[in-house]
């Protein structure tokens, strides 16, 4: 036990910053032009949520669920696993999250946005950042655009968008146990915020604080607002 305490995060880091960003670049190159397609779909989701379109939340759950499954397989399993022994576990976690999101979207046909509370506002902001700003945020850190991370293809913006959507669920009807639903669905994305923050910190990346901050914000607002949400008696 004492020995484990002598290990720091940097002792567990197996790859260099150069290898990490080069992997993102190769991932982007392999899937181009899926990036702008995913962005357009994300913009569509944002529009639907802002317009309170009836199927917006279900559409979002399907979109994020499939994105999580895609990231699990194409990023974590097929790419990240070649440089990180823990990546197969990340793939499993993302796959579970993807299945949970798609299952909720499939089973709950009555999920509609009924109110615009603090959770929905925060969720919309996170979704907007994930879809629109995250890919160009690299320019702020003077990194090339080829290495940018895109919603739907890379883990960080996909997790940020997922947390945004889960916050929007706090303003919806059709969830029988809002606090339990929030806790179950947010556990993996919140854990990822910690993992990616620690990884980027060990890589000496200047934006290491971003995802942990998103995690804290989403965690606090989600826990608070899901406790205030009125359970839907008719929901299953």
């Amino acid at each position: 036990m004492g020995e484990w305490r002598s290990y720091g995060v940097s002792d567990l880091l197996m790859f260099s910053s150069r290898t990490w960003y080069r992997m993102l670049e190769l991932h982007n190159r392999a899937w181009w032009p899926l990036q702008p397609v995913a962005m357009v779909m994300g913009i569509g989701l944002l529009w639907a949520i802002n317009r309170r379109v009836r199927v917006a939340l279900r559409m979002g759950l399907w979109m994020l669920g499939l994105s999580m499954l895609f990231v699990a397989w194409e990023f974590h399993w097929k790419r990240y696993a070649s440089i990180n022994l823990a990546a197969p576990w990340f793939a499993l976690a993302f796959a579970i999250e993807g299945l949970l999101l798609t299952a909720l979207g499939a089973l709950r046909r009555d999920l509609t946005l009924s109110q615009v509370n603090a959770a929905v506002r925060t969720g919309s902001v996170l979704l907007s950042i994930a879809v629109l700003l995250y890919p160009v945020s690299l320019l702020m850190w003077f990194k090339p655009m080829q290495q940018s991370e895109w919603f739907g293809l890379a883990p960080d913006p996909t997790v940020m968008a997922t947390l945004g959507l889960l916050l929007c669920l706090c303003g919806s009807d059709g969830v029988r146990r809002p606090r339990l639903t929030w806790t179950l669905l947010s556990a993996i994305p919140l854990a990822w915020c910690l993992v990616t923050g620690a990884t980027l910190w060990a890589l000496d990346a200047s934006d290491w604080w971003l995802m942990p901050s998103v995690g804290v914000l989403a965690g606090v607002v989600g826990w608070w607002q899901s406790g205030l949400a009125k359970p839907s008696p008719s929901a299953g």
Partner: protein, 305 residues
Amino acid sequence: MVNNLQRRRLIGLAVGAWGAAVSRSATGQPAQDVLRKTIPSSGEKLPAIGLGSWITFNVGDDTMARRGCTEVVRHFFEDGGRLIDCSPMYGSSQPVIGEALARLDAVGRVFSADKVWTSGDGAAQVAASRAHWGVPRFDLLQVHNLLAWRTQLPLLFERKRAGQLRYVGVTTSDGRRHDELESIMLAHPLDFVQVTYNILDRAVEQRILPLARERGIAVIANRPFREGVLIRALERRRLPAWAAEIDCANWAQFLLKFIVSHPQLTCAIPATTQLAHVRENMGAARGRQPDAAMRVRMAALVADM
């Protein structure tokens, strides 16, 4: 099949020996003039600077980065290096080394040092590692960070007895579990131990290195630059003029010469992705080496900084 492998191994060794004999280093120095230290259990001489692969060779499927690693290995051999160190814990480093050896046709030149890092099936892991490297057998296998050493060490000794392995060792890093390491060194006929040793991390000088001398165990020094932190800190300072007395042209050589000049140290294993750094590192195995008085002076300088 075995005969074929042995024949290929012999041909590889012959070609490698010829290559080493006629080759000159990338710096124009003859590859033979590097400092060689003796492995006590066999009397075999080993170049005092090896090549680590932690982080630097874990580049995944990136073809361009893999080519870069191959060039690092090429320059390492051309400058007279032999020992390459790896572990199943290092991600894609094993296949990257294997690809480099195959491209350079250098299986016969390398002193292959790998590790066992599992509490499960050690034999299966060794077989997988060997397939990644593409070598007929490993020169050295060590139990990585003493993980399940009671299970894995007998396996390695068994392989050595069967002629499937030349040397057996154990590793630790950053000063961890030295008491346990000592007891293993006392109880088992190890050929090698690998420990952290550099100009600032010198705990092994107290008990581990004297015990290694007493037991006839070769010592590999890992983390010679504290994963680059030492180099980055020192690069801002001017190399002292008296470093020329021991033929140091840069801080890397200053730090490495301090390590390999310890009488009990066999090999230091700096890792790099830069060809220029390979040359710098291998330069530490050439020219004059510090004596005891100079080592005190070197350590005092860095401690003061």
